[in-house]
Symmetry: C2
Subunit: 415 residues, 2 copies
C-alpha cells in the first residue's frame, strides 16, 4: 500500500478516538506533551542541529536559518503554548440554537471536530507542536507535511508527541508526519480527499497559492495584507500620526502592518510634514503621488504597482484623495481584503467606511495591527483568513470545528 494511503487509513482509525476525547483528557495530554518536549530538549536540539548544518551547507539565508533554529528557550515557548491551549475552554460539544419545530422535532447544531486536518508548512519546527496542540484541543487528527529542511527537527518533535500519546493510551496516529520530501507526494497529499477534511497551508504567499491551486481538498486560506489607513478630512491628526507610526513600524514583516496611506487633500498640508518627519526617524521610505512628493522632498514617485504592494518592510505608499468615497473605492480596488482603518471624527464617514469597505477587519480610529487571534481575545490563533468561506479574519479554535444537526424526535414522519 502506498505511504499516503497508509497514513490516511491510520488517520481515519484515530479519528473517532479523538472526536470522543473529553476535555479533561485532551488537556491532560497537552500538558504531558509540553512536559515531555522540555524533557526531550537534548534530543530535539540534536536533531535540529542536523537540519541547521545541512541548511548552512546548502547556503540557506540567515533569516531562514533563524526560523529553522531551535533553542532551549524556543522549546520552552512551544511547551508554554501547549499549556495555554490546555487552559482554554473546549469548544467541542456545545449545542447551538436548539429549537422545537411545529411538528415537535427538536433541532440543534452541535459543535464537533472537523475530523482529519492536513497542514502544509515551511521550515519552522515550532509550527509542528503548535499545529498538533490546536488540532488536539479541537478533537482533530492532524497530518503534517513540513518543509524538508526541517525534517530531522520535525521528526524528533513528532516522535516525542507520539510517545506522550501512547503514554496516555491514545492512538499515536492522532499526529502523523509525512516524511517523504518529493514533490509528487506533496501533490498527492493535496488530493487525498478520501481521508483529509481540510487542508491549511501555513507560510508565505508562494506556498499558500500552490495549495489553493493544486488542492482538491477544501482549503482554509490565510493571506497577505495590503492594509490601508485613510486619514479623513475630519481626523484628529495627532491620533492619526500615532496610529500610522504604530501600524507601519511596530512590526513590519507581518500581514496586518500598514502598507498604504490615503490622506484627504484638506489635511495633507497639516499632516504630512509632521508625519514625514516621524516616519523618517524610522527610516521609512515613502512612495507618494504628485501632491505628496511636492510636500516631502524625500518621497519617491509611486508607480501603479505600488498601490497593490505588500512591502513587509520599512516602506509605505501615500496617496491624496478628494473624499471618503474615493478612499473606499481605492481600498476596495487595491486591498487584499485583510485590515483597513479610517481615522475620523465624522460619524457618517465612520459608519460609511465600516459598511462599504470589503475586508476581514475594518477599523475606526485604531491600528490595523490588532487583527490577531490573541488581540481579539480568542486565546489561540490558527492564522488570519482572507477568504470568505468558513472563517474570515483571525481564526481561533472555532475555525477547526464544524457542526452537525442533532434531532430529537418521537416518531415523526414526513407528510
Amino acid at each position: 500500500m502506498d505511504l499516503l494511503e497508509q497514513i490516511g487509513r491510520n488517520a481515519k482509525l484515530a479519528e473517532p478516538i479523538l472526536r470522543n476525547l473529553d476535555a479533561n483528557s485532551k488537556n491532560r495530554i497537552l500538558r504531558r506533551v509540553a512536559k515531555e518536549l522540555v524533557d526531550d530538549t537534548k534530543a530535539i536540539l540534536a536533531a535540529n542541529e542536523k537540519d541547521i548544518k545541512a541548511g548552512q551547507e546548502a547556503g540557506m539565508s540567515a533569516g531562514l536559518i533563524d526560523r529553522l533554529q531551535l533553542t532551549k528557550e524556543r522549546i520552552e515557548a512551544m511547551a508554554e503554548g501547549l499549556c495555554q491551549l490546555a487552559d482554554l475552554d473546549d469548544p467541542i460539544g456545545e449545542v447551538l440554537g436548539m429549537k422545537k419545530r411545529p411538528n415537535g422535532l427538536l433541532i440543534g447544531q452541535k459543535r464537533v471536530p472537523l475530523g482529519v486536518v492536513g497542514i502544509i508548512y515551511e521550515a519552522r519546527p515550532n509550527v509542528t507542536a503548535d499545529a498538533f496542540g490546536l488540532c488536539l484541543k479541537t478533537g482533530n487528527v492532524v497530518i503534517l507535511k513540513g518543509g524538508s529542511d526541517a525534517l530531522a527537527s520535525n521528526t524528533a518533535i513528532v516522535e516525542c508527541i507520539r510517545k506522550s500519546l501512547a503514554g496516555e493510551q491514545v492512538n499515536p496516529d492522532a499526529i502523523q508526519l509525512i516524511t517523504a520530501t518529493d514533490r509528487e507526494t506533496t501533490e498527492a497529499f493535496m488530493k487525498l480527499n478520501q481521508y483529509v477534511d481540510v487542508l491549511i497551508p501555513r507560510g508565505g504567499r508562494g506556498l499558500i497559492q500552490a495549495v489553493v491551486h493544486n488542492s482538491t481538498i477544501p482549503v482554509i486560506e490565510t493571506g497577505t495584507g495590503n492594509c490601508h489607513i485613510y486619514v479623513d478630512e475630519d481626523a484628529d491628526l495627532e491620533m492619526a500620526t500615532a496610529i500610522i507610526i504604530n501600524a507601519k513600524t511596530q512590526r513590519v514583516g507581518v500581514c496586518n502592518a500598514c502598507e498604504s496611506l490615503l490622506i484627504h487633500k484638506k489635511v495633507l498640508r497639516d499632516l504630512l510634514p509632521v508625519l514625514g518627519e516621524k516616519l523618517g526617524k524610522y527610516k521609512v521610505e515613502i512612495r507618494g503621488d504628485e501632491e505628496v512628493c511636492k510636500l516631502l522632498k524625500d518621497a519617491v514617485a509611486a508607480t501603479e504597482e505600488d498601490w497593490g504592494k505588500e512591502y513587509l518592510d520599512f516602506t509605505i505608499s501615500i496617496k491624496t484623495v478628494p473624499s471618503v468615497e474615493a478612499a473606499i473605492a481605492h481600498i476596495n480596488r487595491y486591498n487584499t481584503k485583510h485590515s483597513e482603518a479610517i481615522i475620523t471624527r465624522d460619524y457618517d464617514h465612520a459608519q460609511k467606511f465600516l459598511e462599504e469597505v470589503d475586508a476581514a477587519a475594518v477599523y475606526v480610529n485604531a491600528s490595523t495591527r490588532f487583527t490577531d487571534g490573541f488581540e481579539f481575545g480568542f486565546g489561540a490563533e490558527i492564522g488570519i483568513s482572507t477568504q470568505k468561506l468558513h472563517a474570515r479574519g483571525p481564526m481561533g479554535l472555532l475555525a477547526l470545528t464544524t457542526t452537525k444537526y442533532i434531532i430529537y424526535g418521537n416518531g415523526q414522519i414526513r407528510p
Copy 2:
C-alpha cells in the same frame, strides 16, 4: 478582452451596489421580477419550446425533457418562490457578538454578502430564477453557467430579470449568464478566482465531482446521501416500521431517502416479516445479509457494494448488527455523511448515536426525510452540504453570507 474576463469585471462593478442594497429595495426587486416573469410567460415558453425541440431531436430521455420543460404553472411557481424569498428576514447587516476588549476596542462580526457567487447547474431552467433570488436576497452578484440544453430558456429568463433590474435602476449585471457552451469556458470559469468568491454546483454527482476536482475557487459542495436507519434492540417496532416506510418510499429519488437499514439481531424476527410485507406493497427490492435472506424469501443477497450504494430507487439494503456500537461503526464506514437515524427507547443508545455518528444530520426516532431547508425552518434552501467547511447540512440564506469584523476604537495602538 475575453468573455469571462468581461463578465468578471462587470460582476465586480455590480458588487458594491448589491452589497449596499437595503432590504426594502431587494424585496421590491424580487416582487417585480416575479411579476415580470409571469408577464413574460409567452416569450419564456417560446424559448423553452426551442430547447425542448432540440432535446427531443437529440434523443434526450423523457426524464430529462421533463426537467427541462417549462409550463405556465412552473413559471408561476418560480415567481411564487421569489415572493416567498421577499417575505423572509434579510440576514445582511446583523452584528454578532459585539464585545469590548480590555483596551476599549469594541469588536463585533457583521454579516455581509459573499460578493460574487458562481453557480454551475444542469438543464433545469427553474434553477435560474431560484439562484438569482437567493443571491439577490443576500446581496450577492450571481454568474450563472447553466446546462447548454437549456440555453434558450435560461437566456429568456435572465433577460427578463435584467430588464426588471434596469427598471429598478439597479445594475443588471447583478445577474449574468455565461452563454458559451464549450468545455474550455466552463473550466476557465472554475478558475476565475480573481472575480468569483464561491462556486456552487447544483445537480447530480458527476457535475458536483467535476466542480470539486477542477475548481480553484472555494466550492460549496452539495452531496449524495447513503442514509441509514438503525433499529435498536429496544425500539418501538411499530414506530420503526412507519419511519422506515416513510424514509424509503415517500420520495425515492432524493438525497435524504433511506438507502440502508441496520437491525439489531434481537428484534430481527419480530420486525422483518411485518416490514418485509409493507415494503413489498411498495415493490421495494431488498438486498439482505444472510440472516435477512433466511427470513425473507424475496430478499436478494447483498454484496459488499450494496452497503455503500445510494440507490435513489425502490431498493434497500438490510443488515443485521449485534449492537449499537456495530451499527455506528458500519454507518461511519459506509455513509456519505448526510442523514442517519436510530430508532430506540434506550436513553444511552440514543445519546451515543447522536454523539458518535459522523453526519450532517443525526436523528433519534424520526425520518431522515426531514433533512431539508424548509423542514428545518429556514424558509429557503441552497442545497444540502455534506462537506464540513462553511456550512453543513441544509443550507438556508446564511450559507450565502460571510462576516467581517468591525472595530470601533478611539486611538488604540498596539503596544
